[in-house]
């Protein structure tokens, strides 16, 4: 068990290092000096040289990579070239906003999607089941940024029910929650359908198993069979899926944050990308990749904790 956890964490670290190496190699493989791209074509050679030195671009590439990785291992993500602030600090300021957005979106999606999928599986071919089927395919395929724009147009601009931009004042919790409604709606909508679908499929499979038949034969009440014996097992694939979902949710969060002008890591990356601010992009991307890479072993552990069969197999 412990060996397995160490293996998974090792793999996560290896993935982070590899992706950073690829990213690093890409920065240097492209034609043109990053310093020129950042400063524009009107910069003087002296300015370029200074920036190159500050970013460490004048050293050999493998050397830079080793230096960068060592600094990251020490918890230093580099310095923003324009504001001279630590990238780590900038990322950590914005990350909580994004995490709150993602968790709220996921929670409401789970609260609606899981019961919907469960109900559809029990009342198969009912109206709600068919409706859920169409709804889930529909919500999965509609791009989340279109949902965000439409929600903003309808509920903020036309009806004026919700604020248009920002994340609310610090310390004012109701205001912050109010600002969270539309973005988390847009980010979570696709996941309602997705979760409903996964839970339904997995429920149908579990309901056909022997232990359910045995429970029925013993005359247990149907709600108890469904909640206690079926859903508990049927929910397991969802947990693994939720870890994979972090990537998709981060992508949707990028759009929601930009459309609703919410401070967050997605907005940070887009703003830095538009300014060609490499250190910030690099640092923020590393944090998101790390988040995603470590979510997988955590999800495996949760599944192992929930499911005795998996626990003993590890």
């Amino acid at each position: 068990m412990i060996l397995y956890v160490i293996q998974r964490i090792g793999l996560a670290i290896l993935i982070c290092v590899t992706s950073m190496t690829v990213l690093f190699a890409a920065i240097h493989a492209i034609p043109g000096d990053p310093a020129i791209i950042m400063l524009g074509s009107r910069a003087t050679p002296e300015m370029r040289e200074r920036l190159s030195r500050e970013m460490g671009l004048d050293q050999p590439v493998p050397m830079q990579l080793v230096k960068f990785l060592t600094r990251v291992a020490e918890g230093d993500l580099g310095t923003d070239v324009w504001t001279k602030r630590s990238v780590g600090v900038i990322v950590m300021e914005t990350l909580p906003n994004t995490l709150v957005l993602i968790l709220t979106a996921l929670s409401w999606a789970a609260l609606v999607g899981i019961p919907l999928g469960c109900y559809s599986a029990i009342r198969r071919n009912s109206f709600i089941d068919k409706f859920t089927g169409v709804l889930s395919v529909g919500t999965i395929s509609i791009p989340s940024f279109v949902v965000a724009i439409y929600a903003l147009l309808l509920f903020s601009i036309q009806f004026g029910w919700f604020p248009v931009i920002g994340a609310g004042h610090d310390g004012d919790l109701p205001d912050q929650l109010w600002h969270l409604v539309l973005p988390s709606f847009a980010v979570g909508l696709g996941w309602v359908g997705y979760l409903a679908r996964i839970v339904r499929a997995s429920m149908l499979e579990v309901m056909a198993e022997n232990h359910i038949r045995t429970a029925r034969a013993f005359g247990l009440p149907e709600p108890k069979i469904i909640l206690h014996y079926a859903l508990r097992i049927a929910i397991l694939p969802t947990v693994t899926l939720l870890a994979l979902a972090i990537g998709g949710l981060l992508s949707s969060a990028v759009f929601a944050e930009n459309i609703f002008a919410r401070p967050g890591i997605g907005k940070l990356i887009v703003d830095a990308a538009n300014l060609r601010n490499y250190p910030v992009v690099q640092g923020a991307v590393l944090v998101t990749v790390g988040l995603f890479a470590f979510a997988m072993p955590v999800a495996d552990l949760i599944v192992a904790w929930l499911d005795p069969r998996v626990r003993s197999a590890l």
Binding site: S19, V137, S141, P143, Y150, R197, A201, G247, V254
Partner: protein, 305 residues
């Protein structure tokens, strides 16, 4: 089926019974028969055909030149002259939406084809090659996979600068690992089947085993998976363009229309409304059609899902 397998039997003839009805000329007929009983699939087909029609013959339908600027006509609300109104430069939104279909479908389609080819090559090498190559490629696939798609796209776009080529490169980088993994698993499974062992013991070269005996078995599922990715690729492409990191202006890309419309969402809401509709209809169309066809190919799934 255990024991001796006659080599002359094509593996695809018996290995995947689910595909038997689809091989050769019966494919389209079977698909149409299936779609007739599935209203959502039929709706998907109609939407996809509509999108294809707009992409191929859009210049016949479009009432105006999508690039033509009439500054005096800016922000005209939808009317008979301008079906979807005009944008901040007085360009006809309907004409731009129609022209955007061509961009969306051609970029989506061609980059998926490239990703499929690359994924096929890498997946076959990982599945059939030596162990170290397999491990190396898997690590590479997983590293790319651990980037959230939009963030990977933004990163590459930052590095290479926004252009159509870069955008296609992003899609290829994101999609290839998924296909390569699929092909790898299928190749590993096929590698140890008796017909492959038999043909290898007859002295067939690795290339012959891969191309003649393994490839036909795994290409079918790859096409289905890839066609189901079209909506997400179109959404990614429009999304990156929306963020200012995709196709540069003045191309009438759907993401660009939405981005330009968003800056005037208060005074001209029809631009974002009309800019989003084709995106929704196309992604829905491809998804409904893809779901329906997947059921047809894999009846086992239909029973469960």
């Amino acid at each position: 089926m255990h024991g001796w397998i006659p080599v002359s039997v094509r593996p695809s003839d018996w290995d995947m019974p689910a595909r038997a009805g689809l091989a050769g000329a019966g494919t389209i007929g079977a698909a149409l028969r299936h779609l007739r009983q599935d209203p959502l699939g039929m709706l998907g087909l109609v939407l996809v055909l509509l999108a294809l029609f707009c992409a191929l013959f859009g210049h016949w339908i479009a009432p105006d030149d999508p690039f033509k600027i009439h500054v005096t006509d800016r922000f005209q609300a939808p009317s008979l002259a301008h079906f979807m109104g005009t944008d901040n430069l007085g360009r006809d939104v309907f004409s731009r939406v129609i022209a955007g279909t061509k961009i969306a479908l051609s970029i989506g389609g061609s980059s998926i084809l490239i990703a499929m080819t690359l994924g096929l090559l890498l997946g076959l090498s990982a599945g059939y090659g030596p162990r170290w190559l397999d491990n190396l490629l898997l690590l590479l696939f997983d590293s790319v996979y651990s980037f959230p798609t939009v963030i990977l796209g933004l990163t590459v776009m930052t590095l290479l600068g926004p252009s159509i080529t870069t955008l296609m490169f992003v899609v290829v980088v994101i999609q290839t690992p998924a296909y390569a993994r699929l092909i790898r698993t299928a190749t590993l499974a096929a590698k140890n089947t008796e017909y492959v062992l038999a043909i290898r013991s007859l002295g067939a070269s690795p290339a012959r085993v891969l191309v003649v005996h393994i490839l036909p078995n795994i290409v079918g599922p790859l096409f289905i998976i890839a066609s189901m990715d079209i909506p997400s690729v179109i959404a990614l492409e429009a999304g990156l363009t929306y963020l200012g990191m995709g196709i540069p202006p003045p191309a009438p890309d759907w993401g660009r229309i939405l981005q330009e419309g968003f800056s005037s969402i208060q005074e001209a809401p029809w631009i974002v409304v009309c800019g989003g509709i084709p995106l929704i209809l196309t992604t829905l169309g491809f998804t409904f059609l893809g779901e329906s066809l997947r059921d047809l190919l894999d009846p086992r799934l239909r029973r469960i899902v």
